[in-house]
Point group: C2
Chain length 236, copies 2
DNA sequence: ATGAAACCTGACCAAACGGTCAAATTGAGC
DNA sequence: GCTCAATTTGACCGTTTGGTCAGGTTTCAT
């Protein structure tokens, strides 16, 4: 496995369908133009699902397209008919979950009550960890490896979003609603890490407590503990 | 890459040196018996170091013994002279850092002052994240993948240690020194996740803040923020 | 100095991997 | 039922990878 991922080469030839010339290969379905078939939709979805499972378990380097294909219930060749390379699958999976991933932070509202807003943010993040632990682990794996694919997003839109929300928190501090010692960015990191921990380190949590977030009682316990401790630490 | 790691097979033949029979292979230096040579000590150390670097960057599946050998400044063949398989290197690296990894938690002392003890624990963990981020990332990678190698430790000694320290925290609560709503295990998770975040998600932290824990100022900031928030959240 | 053990190397191997290709099969509109 | 594009397959290929092996070189105690 190449350490620095190979170039994406998203569409090696990009052949338009209605060209009638060259009788040669016409591979790759609807490469971005035109509406996808029902079969395409179904199979792409299966591939993304299986890809998420494999990539989150073994990382980019440890995953194999053969196993992904098996997980998606199709042959390796057929998988490669829908996505030309392993890297493209990886990118597609990542892109597919990125929005959902960042959504909760976007909802932090200056005009709201800090206590309610932050508690809600923690709950939202914990909910995602509970319901989508594989996505959490995929992101963790990606960042662990130096974020070869999502670094642009981190430096771009995420950075913007974070500085925006840091301003919100700073406004709350200025309004005397949060303790003056609160550091906005570090508070965001604290919430991220604390909530994602239950997904990313699920194995460890399970080994130590015998429970995961799938256990409603346990999830409620974690939620209460995090909300109480973090809010208790930052509310004025 | 096999998903469930292949059997360790720590020493395929285990040939004792002074056997004088079979003129064939006598590979593998001091397989657990007898004191190691100076060269052995040096090379094994180099291999473990390079292995930590590779495994933490690419995970078990993504790392290659060839790159590890290159990182250790020796040929692949020579590396395999010291460690028979990739899995054995991985286990050795993991084992080599395990003690250091768990040490800070062991120091939590019931007789001490909770504020000082917890603050110290946070500082210790943050120090390790700052000075040994690769070890942190290796553990994260291992746990992410389901802890195939360290699960026994998690279920065994770590579980014991955690329940021990949870009792310590519970004693502090009973003594009225911590808020009654504090959940010991979740507090431990909170401290782990918050401190390790700066190592495991270093790339993200760097992209968002332009800093890492290597920056003394930033580290002090993180430390102050974590200590203030967490202690503020749990102290009575 | 010498001999044995320790150390090191390059050539080699089988399996696994990512990816290609020609051809067979299926499906949908007519 | 015909036709043509969409879909699926299995055989195949070059590379990478983990690991073996026979033999060469260095180290070190005597």
């Amino acid at each position: 496995m190449s350490p620095t991922r190979s170039t994406p080469k998203s569409s090696p030839l990009k052949r338009k369908p209605g060209l009638r010339s060259a009788p040669a290969a016409r591979q790759v379905p609807a490469d971005s133009d035109a509406k996808p078939t029902r079969i395409q939709e179904r199979n792409r979805a299966r591939i993304l699902e299986a890809g998420l499972s494999e990539f989150s378990r073994f990382g980019f380097g440890g995953a194999t397209i053969e196993k992904i294909a098996a997980g998606a219930g199709m042959s390796k060749s057929n998988l490669l008919y829908y996505y030309p390379t392993k890297t493209v699958i990886y990118e597609a999976v990542l892109e597919h979950i990125l929005d959902t991933w960042l959504a909760p932070l976007r909802m932090l509202d200056v005009t709201g009550d800090p206590a309610a807003e932050l508690a809600d943010y923690i709950r939202q993040k914990l909910k995602i960890s509970a319901e989508w632990p594989e996505a959490s682990r995929l992101f963790a794996s990606e960042i662990l490896q130096g974020a070869p694919q999502v670094k642009p997003v981190l430096q771009g839109s995420l950075r913007l979003l974070v500085s925006e929300k840091a301003a919100v928190i700073r406004a709350w501090i200025a309004a005397g609603k949060l303790k003056p010692h609160v550091e906005p960015v570090h508070l965001i990191f604290l919430i991220w890490s604390a909530t994602q921990h239950y997904a990313d380190f699920e194995t460890q949590v399970l080994a130590l407590t015998g429970k995961t977030l799938k256990d409603e009682t346990f999830r409620g316990e974690a939620e209460a503990a995090l909300v109480a401790t973090i809010l208790g630490g930052v509310l004025a």
